[in-house]
């Protein structure tokens, strides 16, 4: 019986053999290069290892989402860089999506002016190299923004200056209770929605779920403020003088101009590609679909929501996933304008201080790979959810 399995005439075995040979060849190539690298590094007096990750980093980072100072380890510095990369990518993806959808729909507008503006926007921003756009936004913003003492004030609680955008800092008491209440609200909304779907499908009753959901999301956390001792106060940024002509703001939170410029450049650039995807998606839905939907009495919103968008999304999602991946990888250009992402902090300063090029570059490559694969997995899941379900 076993012989039959490995018989060359067995189709499964025949398919497996070339694959096995390929994998074997690949592994031996990797082993060959790895040993070679080891011998060469040995000859040149370079050691290999990841012990340095526990050593003290002894350099500071402008902007960090977790507690960090130079006395922390290189491992911690890596984490700071990683979180900053994720932050700018998330902000970029968020705004690129919103702008992309708006611009994509605008290009199909009947209004000549709106359609043309959208078209010009797409043609200009997708055809200029991203690094130039990053420099443009950064140095244009730097030159345009006022010094702290002349900062643009928003009702005296927030200030936009060349050194950053200073916003009030949230100071919570009993934040955990608040967080739990928000989670409870989301669970409640989930049940409300499934109840509403059931009502609609079984009895044809329409329940205004949007309004009810919104009310739930506001009311439940509100209760914690009124009865459960949650409170929120703000620490406002205040102008501080450092010398006769040097000013800064103390208190509050500073959103550094590097982050603003990078997020702006990344989302403006990627939005053009997403806009084209959206346009292609909407144009890809047959005219007959809309007419058929109208003929069974759906209104304009319902047509868009129930008939056009579900079909358009199938066309939009896969290429948009590519754009999300591109945006994340493009965020590595951050180093050019001093935004402390993983490339600047880890593959830059840390590499230089430790001299461990092979280790650090491998870790950085693996990190980007992991980030990209995570986005891919999520988007594939979403794509599957949106795909045609044959009933």
């Amino acid at each position: 019986m076993i012989f039959k399995k490995f018989n060359i005439e067995n189709k499964k075995a025949r398919d497996l053999i070339p694959q096995a040979i390929t994998i074997l060849a690949l592994i031996s190539v990797i082993i060959y290069f790895a040993t070679n690298a080891q011998i060469n590094m040995g000859n040149r007096g370079i050691s290999f290892g990841f012990g340095f990750l526990n050593q003290e980093a002894s350099f500071d980072i402008t902007f960090s989402m977790i507690e960090y100072d130079g006395s922390n380890s290189y491992g911690r510095a890596f984490l700071v860089g990683l979180l900053n990369t994720i932050l700018v990518s998330a902000i970029g993806i968020f705004f690129a999506t919103i702008m992309g959808v708006i611009v994509g729909i605008s290009r199909l507008s009947d209004n000549y002016l709106i359609a043309k503006v959208a078209e010009w926007y797409v043609e200009i921003f997708r055809n200029i190299p991203l690094i130039l756009q990053i420099f443009f936004w950064y140095f244009a913003a730097l030159r345009a923004l006022p010094l702290p003492e002349n900062g643009i004030s928003f009702y005296d609680i927030s200030f936009l200056t060349i050194k950053g955008w200073y916003v009030p800092k949230f100071i919570w008491t009993n934040f955990n209770i608040f967080l739990l209440s928000v989670m409870a609200a989301f669970i409640a909304i989930y049940f409300i929605n499934s109840y509403a779907t059931k009502q609609r499908e079984q009895f044809g009753k329409q329940i205004p779920t949007t309004i009810i959901s919104l009310a739930t999301l506001i009311l439940i956390p509100l209760i914690t403020f009124l009865f459960l001792g949650v409170s929120l106060s703000f620490e406002y940024p205040v102008l501080k003088q450092l010398s006769p002509t040097v000013f800064t703001y103390a208190g509050g939170v500073s959103i550094i101009p590097e982050l603003i410029a990078l997020a702006l450049a990344l989302s403006m650039y990627t939005a053009t590609f997403i806009a084209e995807n959206v346009r292609a998606g909407i144009l890809g839905v047959g005219k007959g679909q809309k007419e058929a939907a109208a003929s069974i009495g759906l209104n304009k919103n319902q047509i868009l929501k129930l008939v056009v968008m579900p079909q358009a999304l199938r066309i939009i999602i896969p290429p948009t996933t590519n754009q999300y991946l591109n945006l994340t990888k493009n965020s590595s250009l951050a180093a050019a304008i001093a935004y402390p992402d993983i490339v600047l902090v880890f593959a830059g300063t840390a590499l230089m201080q430790t001299g461990r090029a092979i280790e650090i570059i491998s870790i950085t490559m693996l990190t980007y790979l992991t980030l990209s694969i995570s986005i891919s997995i999520f988007m594939n899941w979403y794509n599957k959810k949106m795909a045609i379900k044959e009933k």
Binding site: F33, N40, G45, T62, S243, A336, M352
Partner: protein, 348 residues
């Protein structure tokens, strides 16, 4: 322009070189120098320099490199190949420089690099000497009212380059003064200058020679000044790979020859006429006494060629640093006989 991509490719390529090129490299202690052989075979010295730092290594519009760091490479080329112009320059960022050297892409790194214990001991490098004694300082706007580092207050923002010792010194300094600060570190010096010039940061910190050179690039150089304090020791010097003792000696003594030549008053114009000098030290320098070159596998005129083609240290300094207005005063970079700290072991 696309700096970061270039860096990645370079670092990646350098790593690949490490991986791919067989078991090359000279074994420690061997009398023969693999690097010397390869250099002679190639016909040029592979030298790593900065991406443009006036006075140290800077390319003009037609791509000719000059500066005191460049002169070290030229001296090595003159000694080894007989022609100071036979150098292939590779401009490197602070981040790329050591990888480029350890992977064999370059053989001499003369790129205003600070000699520190960890660099010397840890990452397979050897510093062969010091060609410029520098120290880290701060630049501020003249109208800021800041006249000394003691005027710095909590919340000050400081711009600098990544991947250099300045990032570490800056932290040590501000920590010791108990001042909280905002460090903004750029990959390239040009961006640091632009950001500081625009007002993104209150002070710009790097080696004082660098500050003096970069000040000339500001939109209005007269609005800025360098504070008097020096917060660190920055002995800058050429670096070679560990493990090739002969090559290491060649680079070390090429530099030493330039300094020794200045000490004995030998320069590019009078060197050949001093062959019959009374002073044996001078005779050794111009190759008319002793067999000093043989120790490295070079001929006896190696040092004469350095002095004739490149000049002595004083000539090099005057041409690149003093006459360009970067640092007219030699300060510590003066000979020990004239109140400075330049002191090299005797060539004998």
């Amino acid at each position: 322009m696309i700096k970061s991509i270039k860096t990645w490719i370079l670092v990646g390529f350098a790593s690949l070189l490490l991986v791919a090129c067989g078991q090359g490299g000279g074994g420690a202690g061997s009398k023969k120098s693999k690097t010397l052989e390869n250099t002679k075979k190639a016909g040029f010295v592979k030298c790593g320099v900065s991406q443009g730092l006036p006075g140290f290594s800077n390319a003009d519009a037609s791509g000719n490199w000059s500066g005191i760091d460049v002169d070290v490479c030229r001296a090595v080329a003159a000694a080894v190949l007989g022609d100071a112009d036979k150098v292939k320059y590779t401009p490197l960022s602070a981040k790329e420089r050591f990888t480029a050297l350890t992977s064999g892409e370059i053989d001499v790194l003369a790129r205003n690099t600070t000699w520190t214990l960890s660099r010397d001991a840890d990452i397979g490098l050897t510093f062969v000497g010091v060609n410029f004694y520098d120290g880290q300082g701060f630049m501020v706007r003249k109208n800021s009212g800041i006249n000394s580092v003691n005027d710095f207050k909590n919340g000050i923002s400081a711009c600098t380059n990544t991947g250099t010792t300045t990032e570490l010194n800056m932290r040590d300094f501000f920590n010791s003064k108990n001042i909280s600060y905002e460090p903004i570190a750029f990959e390239k010096a040009d961006e640091v200058v632009q950001a500081y010039d625009a007002g993104r940061c209150d002070t710009y910190t790097t080696d004082k020679s660098g500050l003096a050179a970069q000040r000339t690039k500001m939109s209005n150089p007269d609005e800025h000044k360098v504070l008097p304090e020096t917060i660190s020791k920055e002995p800058l010097g050429p670096v070679v790979r560990q493990g090739d003792a002969v090559w290491e000696d060649i680079v070390r003594w090429s530099l030493n020859t330039m300094i020794e030549a200045e000490e004995y008053g030998v320069n590019s114009s009078n060197a050949s006429s001093l062959k019959d000098s009374e002073n044996p030290a001078i005779k050794r320098l111009v190759g008319s006494e002793g067999e000093l070159g043989a120790a490295f596998g070079l001929d006896n005129d190696w040092s004469l060629r350095i002095i004739e083609q490149v000049g002595n240290y004083g000539e090099s300094y005057k041409k690149h640093i003093a006459d360009t207005g970067i640092l007219p005063n030699r300060g510590p970079n003066q000979l020990w006989t004239k109140g400075g700290i330049l002191y090299v072991p005797p060539a004998r």
